[in-house]
Symmetry: C2
Subunit: 313 residues, 2 copies
């Protein structure tokens, strides 16, 4: 039997999955991310945890196809990562070679950017199964993006392909995006962006009743209010959809994908979010991409470990 | 010795090039495009012309790597073309199989969309030589686009990847684009788009002197006027650059290419066009793509035959 490990490295915890070579998730667990001393223990901790699991399960190295890593930073085709702020990694180094060395070269290692890897996970065992040209956007605190062409991640020259969160919307914002630019898509269509739009609507319309005046301002509550017919929240949803749908129409003009997958925390609010996106998408997209399929991600928080494992498949 | 034919099929004439397998253009010629009876003679005419050339040169079929076709319409990975209005082709059929049949199956045939194929030509023997991740835009009557990832054309699901001319600019136009949408990039940044912007500036500023008031309104004259310091024309150049540079910043956010190549008639006006594009590009692009190389195409009108030949390499 063949096995593969998928590792999703976050700033707080590292999620690890043991999969069969056919894509069945056998077991998943997590370990804390130790960011002390520039995060020097992160890779050795991962290696120890994996070796312990293999020992526990009686899996020999020769049965393991390899270890895949999803990382919160740009990773190029050679495995070189330039920076991962959340892990306190500030150097440029080959993360594949470094983790392989922790295994004394016994296991093959492949690494990728976490948003790209999540797209590969959905392609392998999630909403994108059976498709070969896929765009995925992950709507969380920020917006991550991943592009799959002919079943392969498009990495880009510096590992920065699929940075859909930072495409320019045409609307300049007063405060800059985390990336330093102004008017990035994630300033409007991430969970954080939704709260920004919500605050604007509440402040600009002080006399308008809205159930959001009595609730914590977050994306989940806003979509609940949309389901309840709250007019102010529906306007926020329309603005969210205008930015995201129009932005994705440009992405589809470049790539002509079969399917666009919406993931991340915002997508957990359900199908209520979809028509706001697709209406604007279809209004502006080139006709040959007009029937692009839209769907929500199905792997949830496990997308990262699935995709990391899929790097070895 | 090995040979390959590259064919660039246009609505008026068909350009054909005979290349060595190493990419040397040995001879080029053209034949008229016969669009009578739904263009049924176009493929047989191409086959006859190529067979006659091989006979003239004493080249045997076994020395020919194949025949590549660049076509004015979307062509998918299997060689299926849906429509080519300029050729009076209205059916969906496999153009590779149909041309191969004209050769009685003696020669291998590969086909692609003309703008995609032009990008491959520049990648093979032009401005993109040595790069593997390339975006090309062809600024002519319209705007064509081509995307090369890892040395391969990105075709898209319906052969409609790289349709950069039809990405939405955020500015709605009164009259629709040829594609039916409003506000497409080619309505502002093609040679036709430049004339539109020029007319607007002239009409909106009737008292402002401009050397364009005494010249035919075309892109070439406009860029000459920019070189001469004509202020009204410089404003047109700035608007052109804002649309194109911003649009390309989005494309680079999705693909993180090494190089962006500007081709087509507008690019023939020289390096004067470049700063208007790059200034806006760098203002809005994600930082990891900030040093994307910009250059003009070098193969000129031969890009199509080079790229068609490169389909077989």
């Amino acid at each position: 039997m063949s096995y593969v490990y998928g590792v999703d490295v976050g700033g707080t915890s590292v999620k690890i999955g043991l999969f069969s070579g056919e894509g069945e998730l056998i077991e998943k667990w997590s370990i804390p991310t130790n960011t002390d001393n520039n995060g020097e223990a992160i890779l050795p901790d991962i290696a120890s945890s994996i070796d312990a699991k293999s020992k526990e399960k009686g899996i020999s190295d020769s049965e393991i196809l390899g270890v895949g890593l999803g990382l919160p930073g740009p990773v190029d085709d050679r495995g070189i990562i330039r920076k991962a702020v959340n892990l306190h990694w500030n150097d440029t180094f080959n993360v594949e070679e470094k983790l392989a060395a922790c295994f004394d070269g016994r296991l093959k290692v492949k690494a990728g950017n976490d948003a790209n890897v999540a797209a590969l996970g959905e392609a392998w065992m999630g909403a994108g199964k059976g498709y070969k040209n896929i765009v995925m956007v992950t709507l969380g605190t920020g917006i991550g993006g991943g592009v799959i062409i002919n079943g392969q991640i498009v990495t880009g020259t510096r590992g920065a392909a699929g940075e859909i969160g930072h495409i320019y919307t045409g609307t300049d914002t007063e405060e800059p995006c985390n990336c330093g630019n102004r008017g990035c898509l994630e300033q409007f269509a991430s969970a954080t962006g939704i709260v920004r739009l919500l605050k604007e609507e509440l402040e600009n319309n002080p006399d308008e009743a809205s159930e959001m005046r009595n609730k914590p301002l977050d994306s989940k509550n806003m979509w609940e209010a949309v389901k309840n017919g709250d007019e102010l929240s529906i306007r926020v949803a329309e603005r969210f959809g205008k930015y995201l749908g129009t932005g994705l129409s440009v992405v589809a003009g470049v790539l002509n994908p079969e399917i666009i997958i919406i993931g991340g925390g915002v997508s957990m609010s359900g199908d209520v979010i979809m028509p706001y996106i697709t209406k604007n998408f279809r209004e502006h997209v080139f006709h040959a991409s007009g029937d692009t399929i839209f769907t929500r991600a199905t792997l949830g928080n496990d997308g990262g470990i699935y995709g990391a494992a899929a790097l070895l498949i």
